[in-house]
Symmetry: C2
Subunit: 390 residues, 2 copies
Amino acid sequence: MRMISKFVAPEIIFGLGALSQVGESALRLGATKLFVISDPGVVANQWVDRAIARLKEAGLSFEIWFEVTSNPKDYEVIEGVKRYQDTGCDAILAVGGGSPIDVAKAVAILATNGGVIQDYEGVNKITRPLPPLLVVPTTAGSGSEVTQFAIIVDTRRKVKMTIISKSLVPDIAIIDPVVLQTKDARLTAATGLDALSHAIESFVSLAATPLTDVNALNAIRLVARYLRPSVACRSNLEAKSAMAMAALQAGLAFSNAILGATHAMAHQLDAQLDLHHGETNAILLPYVMEFNMIACVEKFARIAEAMGENIAGLSTWEAAERAIQAVRRLARDLDIPDKITVGNLSEERINNLAQNALKDACIITNPRDVTERDLHNLFALALKRGIQVD
Amino acid sequence: MRMISKFVAPEIIFGLGALSQVGESALRLGATKLFVISDPGVVANQWVDRAIARLKEAGLSFEIWFEVTSNPKDYEVIEGVKRYQDTGCDAILAVGGGSPIDVAKAVAILATNGGVIQDYEGVNKITRPLPPLLVVPTTAGSGSEVTQFAIIVDTRRKVKMTIISKSLVPDIAIIDPVVLQTKDARLTAATGLDALSHAIESFVSLAATPLTDVNALNAIRLVARYLRPSVACRSNLEAKSAMAMAALQAGLAFSNAILGATHAMAHQLDAQLDLHHGETNAILLPYVMEFNMIACVEKFARIAEAMGENIAGLSTWEAAERAIQAVRRLARDLDIPDKITVGNLSEERINNLAQNALKDACIITNPRDVTERDLHNLFALALKRGIQVD
């Protein structure tokens, strides 16, 4: 634990039907015209329509823009901030998964701070206050609704840039589990395991504190108990509510305790191969846990307990191993493969992934010291490669 | 659990030596001249000197005012806001226990909203933004450093007014366990049991949510484990740190889940008889728990577990009773009496206490419905009265 730790969180409005508070919340933030950022899938499911109906009721203007892709890219941010400024907006509403929310944060940065998004990579590079930012997550996974993180792909360098600043914590997060019902089983599984990876990595992080630990552990408990039924049944609102809370608590934990090698590695694969971030994390996580185990065996034993394992009578080491087994079993039950299929990927590209992962901001708080060779070995374990020709 | 819940928290800076961040934090809030509110005991222990040394280093001006008493009073708020305005301050720093922090909140309200503090009694009466508010708690108890509550005595009516508003959440809470070392054993015990009463009342509150529950339960665990050693030894920094975290987490829990009958009753006794709020709560708590038990026996069983009781093999009801026994044993170990000695107090005054407690904002979230007669009976159980002459 660090000697002095910091903890930040947005105002949180949580519950079935919370989406109805979008208009009133925007008014409280002093918005007059909102730039609404989303993606085509969310728009198709009419969540944006429902949100803007509330903005209209509140007498607010808005401009909708939904050209955001997964693993959102620098050029999308450039386009977004141009639209924001051209249309005279003064606040931002994101309705979507981690991608639209992260783009909203990036647009907010450039709207008042100028420059290009690359200028803000790293920690605490933002100097001017951002426009009011209101977010409605439509997946239970990224946690971006409560975090001080935004992750944007630098398309030239093919790396995911991690931007960390207290300014990126949204002003208000409106979390309505009803919205989760339109996601299919595969996305529900991948995003739920993303939340689990946030909870586990932040719990064993070098920057963990008692405040982040209670959130991380409860997120682990909720994922272990409710992710399977949430994937199994779209209309199970108890499971959807629990998973929304799990993602939120995992977000509070990792926003303040940061992450570890799983994320440092996943960021590289996402950026280079445009994989689904949640699934990438889910596959990498047990390999990284095996590597990290000698650094935090007691914490792993507590993870096992939170995962619902019966650890009575076991040694700490045996209990810790149960944590890894429980993570593997959960992923298997949800049809997540145990390797990432990446086709032809040369040794040189693996080296390059390892080099970039070592530079990722998330590596700093990994509980076990990591070398480039360690990362190379971990990539080799987790990747299923075809014939190497490139 | 409510359908839609809200959660707010300040930015938190926590750890040994965190007091050193006062200057930098004030700068970040845009302060130029700080109104420093404290009390004579805190000033005598030089915590205010240490804080203002940091303000000076940061090039900030300040004005010190430390005429705050325990159970702070409306006329102190009037005096405070006059000084704040006459001296041209633009931000407030509170260094102290719950009393200076609550006065700071009340001064902040009047500084930008005008009127008298009575205008803001109740929920959400504040309309204009408050000046920047930075707080450094010097006790581990009130939780006011993170809450949306301020409690001020209306000296004419002799009631404690509860003021609740998101605006009252400080901008930054700086929590340095080192500062707790100058409090004597009795105050450490009383404030620590105040934190326990916050945690238990918010955990069983009708407005509890998973986010408040994890904070409440961890606060209970920390108090059960660390309050005795913290009272026993001033220099035990591990215990001081744990108790600072317990008070903080209990504050996060009750700020968002509100409290119950213990506080509704304690507020009346504090205001009428100027008792120590922490001690009053500590004595009332087990009586109120006995009354509330039929409403929340499962939650009481979880409290027993968090208090460190071995509940294996017990029925839920037996386990729940252990929670009350554990609270009584903790108070006894810390030399807290089991009754409040109030001298000559007529039936009519007891009736009056019960009537006012029924109007207190904290009664609304008590898990068991409460009548005036119930409150009368609870006061009768907890008070040790002399010959009744008045």
